[in-house]
C-alpha cells in the first residue's frame, strides 16, 4: 500500500527541508565544492542535531526509526536542493547492518546515527563516493556484502562529474574484512536503488521548476519564451514524465518497507525510471535555458551534474533494465 505519508512524517520532512534551504543554498554548495570534502559543514552539524544521519536507523541503535516512506520523503527534498550529504549511504547502512543483529550493528549504527562516524558504500567495481573520509566501508560484491576497515584499503582518487562528490577507486581484500549476513547484498542493492530514485525525483522536480521560472522571465521576439508552444509542450511532456515517476518511486518505497516479493522489481523500476526521467529533464531544462544553462555561472549545472552522478553511481539504468528484462523473460508479472 502506498498510503500518503503521515502528518508527522510530513512535518519532519518539512523541517528537514527548511534546514536544506537555510544551509544548503546553491551559494553554500558552490563554496563547499571548492573545499576538499565538497560538503557544507554547517549543514552537516545541523542535520546531526536533528538526528537526520540516523533517520532510518532503529531507535534501539540511537536512530529515528523512520520507515522507507518517511525516509523517501526526505530524500526527495534533498534531491530538490542538490544536497551533497551522504544521506543515501546512511540509509543503506541502516538497512544492511540493521537487518541482522551482528556486532557490527551495535558497533556502528549508534555512531552513524549520532553523526560521529560516516560510511561509504561500494557497488561492484565502481569508484566509491566519500571513501577517503569514511570510517567504515560497506563493499557490495556479487552475492555478498563486506564490512571493510578503511585503514586496510588502497585509495586512488577519481574525478566525478558532480563537483560535490569525492570518489575513490578502492583496492581491498576479503582478508580482514567481515562478511555480512546472507542477503545483505540484495538488501543493499534495492535500498540504494530506491534511495537514489527518490533523490533523482527531487532533482528532476527542481530542474523543471528552474526551467519554468526561466521561461517566465526570459523574453525573445518581444514575449516570454514560456508563451511559445514549442517550449510549453516540451515542459508539459517533462511534467508528465515526472508525474508518472513519482508514484513508481513511492510504491517502491512502500514495497521496500513491507519487504514484499516484488520489492526488487519495484526498486529496479523506480531506479530505471527516475534515472531516465532525470536525464530527460536535465536535457530539456538545459534547452529551455539556452546558452546560460551551459555555464557554471548558472545554478542549473549543479542539479544536472548531481543527477548524472546519482544515476550513474547509485541507480545505473542499464543494470536495472537488464535485471528487469531477465525477470520478464521468465514469465513473472508483478
Amino acid at each position: 500500500m502506498t498510503a500518503p505519508p503521515t502528518t508527522e512524517a510530513q512535518e519532519f520532512a518539512g523541517a528537514v527541508a527548511d534546514l536544506f534551504d537555510r544551509y544548503s543554498s546553491t551559494e553554500a554548495l558552490r563554496e563547499a565544492h571548492a573545499t576538499s570534502a565538497g560538503r557544507v559543514p554547517a549543514l552537516r552539524e545541523h542535520l546531526a542535531r536533528m538526528g537526520v544521519p540516523g533517520l532510518s536507523i532503529s531507535p534501539a541503535h540511537g536512530g529515528l526509526g523512520a520507515d522507507a516512506e518517511a525516509t523517501t520523503a526526505i530524500l526527495i527534498e534533498a534531491g530538490r536542493r542538490a544536497v551533497s550529504e551522504p544521506l543515501i549511504e546512511h540509509v543503506v547502512a541502516a538497512a544492511v547492518l540493521g537487518s541482522s543483529d551482528s556486532d557490527l550493528a551495535d558497533l556502528w549504527l549508534p555512531r552513524l546515527a549520532a553523526g560521529t562516524a560516516e560510511v561509504a558504500i561500494g557497488l561492484a567495481e565502481q569508484p566509491v563516493p566519500g571513501a577517503r573520509t569514511a570510517d567504515l566501508l560497506l563493499m557490495i560484491d556479487g552475492d555478498a556484502a563486506w564490512a571493510v576497515d578503511p585503514a586496510s584499503v588502497e585509495l586512488a582518487e577519481t574525478m566525478s562529474v558532480d563537483p560535490g562528490m569525492r570518489p575513490c577507486s578502492v583496492t581491498w581484500s576479503k582478508d580482514g574484512a567481515q562478511e555480512l549476513a546472507p542477503g545483505s547484498a540484495d538488501i543493499a542493492r534495492r535500498t540504494v536503488a530506491v534511495a537514489a530514485a527518490a533523490q533523482l525525483l527531487g532533482l528532476s522536480e527542481a530542474m523543471l521548476d528552474a526551467a519554468v521560472a526561466w521561461a517566465l522571465v526570459r523574453e525573445q521576439f518581444g514575449r516570454k519564451i514560456g508563451g511559445f508552444q514549442a517550449v510549453k509542450h516540451e515542459l508539459a511532456s517533462v511534467y508528465a514524465e515526472i508525474a508518472f515517476c513519482r508514484p513508481v518511486v513511492l510504491h517502491a518505497a512502500a514495497s521496500l518497507a513491507s519487504s514484499t516479493t516484488s520489492a526488487d522489481h519495484d526498486a529496479s523500476h523506480a531506479a530505471l525510471r527516475a534515472s531516465r526521467v532525470s536525464r530527460y529533464v536535465a536535457r530539456a531544462a538545459l534547452q529551455v535555458h539556452g546558452a546560460v544553462g551551459y555555464t557554471q555561472e548558472h545554478d542549473l549545472h549543479l542539479f544536472m551534474t548531481r543527477a548524472w552522478a546519482v544515476s550513474s553511481v547509485w541507480a545505473d539504468p542499464v543494470r536495472h533494465l537488464y535485471r528487469i528484462t531477465q525477470e520478464l523473460r521468465s514469465d513473472q508479472l508483478s
Binding site: 517566465l216 509542450h233 511534467y239 515517476c245
Partner: protein, 387 residues
C-alpha cells in the same frame, strides 16, 4: 505487489474472473462498428448488466453495485485481462453518466441511467463540428427557444458510435450574442427525432466508428437539457475531466495488452530469436510503462477518494496512456514478420486493430496538443498562447 490490495477487493477480483471465464463469448464478436456487431455488443452489455457488472460504481437502484473506484479498477483489470469485448456503451457510461450524476435532475437520473446501464440505450457523443475540433468553443450548432422546448440546427462530426446509437449528447449555442464558451447548453437528443440525419463515416480501419450528424429543426423539450441553460461548457468540461482522468482508459487495458505483448515476445524468442532480441527493450519498456500507469491511477484514485478532485493533472494521464497504447501495438506488430500483408491472420488481426485504434488516442478526447497546453498553462503557469 498490487498497489491497493485487500481481502474484500480480492473476493471481487475472483468473482469477476470466474464470471467472465464462464460467460465470455466463444469467439470474438464482430466489430461494434457494423450493424450486426453493434447488436451483438448490446447483448453482451445486457448480459454484463444481469450479473451486476455493467456499471459497478453506480448505486444499486440504478443498476450498479455501489462500489468504489478502486474496485472499479480491479474490475477493469480482470475485464481486459480476460479478453472480453469492447464496451459499446462506453460513451454513455464513462462520459455522459458522470455529468448526469453531477448536473442531472432526479427525473433525468431515473429516466436515463437505468436504460444506459442495461445497454438498452447506447449513447453517441456529439462534440466536434466541421469548424470546431480542438477549438471546441468555436461551435456554431444552435438551439432556439420554441414553445415548450428548443429547436436544434447544426452539423456535428466525428461522433463516436453515432452510426448505430440510440441517443446523442452535445453542445449547442443558446445565446447567439455570447462569445466562445459562454452561451452554450448541453442537450440530450434521441437519434430517432425528426430532423436528425446520420451519415456514417468509414474510418481508417474500414468500420463506421463515427458519423456526421445533421440536425434540421429538431425539436426537443426542456427535459432534454442537462444542467443550466447557457452553462453547457461547464457541464461538458466536468465530463471531459473525467474522460481524461480516471474513467476513460483504465490501467487494466494496458496491463492486459502489455501482458499479451510479453507472451508474443516470448513465443517469438523461440522462433525468431534475432527479431525478439531486437525488440527486447521496447517490450520491457511497454510493460513498465503499463505498471507506472497503474500506480499513477491508483494513487489518483486514492487521492480522489480522500477528497482531492481530479483536476488538470488528468491531462498528463491522457498523454501517457494514449502514447503508451501506440508503443505497445507498434511493438506487437514489429514482432510479426510481414504483419502488413497478414492482417487476416487471426493471431495478427488483434494487433492490427489495436494499432489502428491506438492511433486515434492522441486525437480524440482533446488532442494531445490541447492536453499539453492545459498542463503548461494551468499546472505550470506558463502564458496562454499569444495569437
Amino acid at each position: 505487489m498490487h498497489p491497493t490490495a485487500s481481502p474484500t477487493r480480492e473476493e471481487l477480483r475472483l468473482e469477476v474472473r470466474r464470471w467472465l471465464a464462464q460467460h465470455l463469448p466463444r469467439s470474438p464478436l464482430e466489430s461494434f462498428d457494423t450493424e450486426a456487431g453493434f447488436a451483438a455488443h448490446r447483448e453482451w452489455e445486457r448480459l454484463l448488466h444481469s450479473a451486476g457488472l455493467a456499471v459497478v460504481t453506480w448505486p444499486v437502484e440504478l443498476g450498479g453495485r455501489g462500489l468504489d473506484i478502486i474496485d472499479w479498477l480491479i474490475f477493469e483489470e480482470e475485464y481486459w485481462a480476460s479478453g472480453a469485448p469492447g464496451r459499446v456503451g462506453q460513451n454513455g457510461i464513462f462520459l455522459l453518466a458522470p455529468a448526469i450524476f453531477e448536473f442531472g435532475t432526479e427525473e433525468q437520473k431515473a429516466r436515463l441511467l437505468p436504460p444506459m446501464a442495461r445497454g438498452d440505450e447506447v449513447w453517441a457523443q456529439a462534440w466536434s463540428e466541421p469548424g470546431a475540433g480542438s477549438d471546441l468553443a468555436a461551435l456554431t450548432s444552435r438551439a432556439d427557444r420554441t414553445e415548450g422546448g428548443w429547436r436544434l440546427n447544426g452539423h456535428k462530426i466525428w461522433s463516436t458510435r453515432a452510426a448505430f446509437a440510440d441517443r446523442m449528447f452535445g453542445l449547442f449555442r443558446t445565446d447567439q450574442d455570447a462569445e466562445r464558451h459562454r452561451g452554450l447548453t448541453y442537450f440530450l437528443v434521441p437519434m430517432s427525432a425528426e430532423g436528425v440525419t446520420v451519415r456514417p463515416i468509414r474510418q481508417l480501419d474500414g468500420g463506421a466508428g463515427f458519423a456526421e450528424i445533421f440536425l434540421d429543426d429538431v425539436l426537443v423539450t426542456d427535459d432534454d437539457v442537462l444542467g443550466d441553460v447557457d452553462r453547457g461548457w461547464h457541464v461538458a468540461m466536468s465530463t471531459t475531466a473525467s474522460e481524461r482522468g480516471l474513467m476513460l482508459r483504465s490501467p487494466g487495458r494496458f496491463l492486459a495488452s502489455s501482458a499479451r505483448l510479453l507472451e508474443l515476445w516470448r513465443r517469438v524468442s523461440e522462433s525468431e530469436p534475432v527479431r525478439a532480441a531486437s525488440l527486447e527493450a521496447r517490450v520491457v519498456d511497454a510493460r513498465l510503462d503499463a505498471e507506472a500507469y497503474r500506480l499513477y491511477v491508483h494513487a489518483a484514485a486514492r487521492a480522489s477518494m480522500s477528497g482531492t478532485p481530479v483536476g488538470p493533472e488528468s491531462s498528463a494521464n491522457k498523454l501517457f496512456w494514449s502514447e503508451l497504447d501506440i508503443r505497445i501495438h507498434e511493438t506487437g506488430l514489429d514482432l510479426v514478420d510481414g504483419w502488413a500483408t497478414r492482417i487476416d491472420d487471426a493471431d495478427v488481426a488483434p494487433w492490427v486493430d489495436g494499432f489502428e485504434f491506438s492511433l486515434a488516442g492522441p486525437i480524440y478526447a482533446g488532442t494531445n496538443e490541447i492536453q499539453r497546453n492545459i498542463i503548461a498553462e494551468r499546472i505550470l503557469g506558463l502564458p496562454r498562447d499569444a495569437s
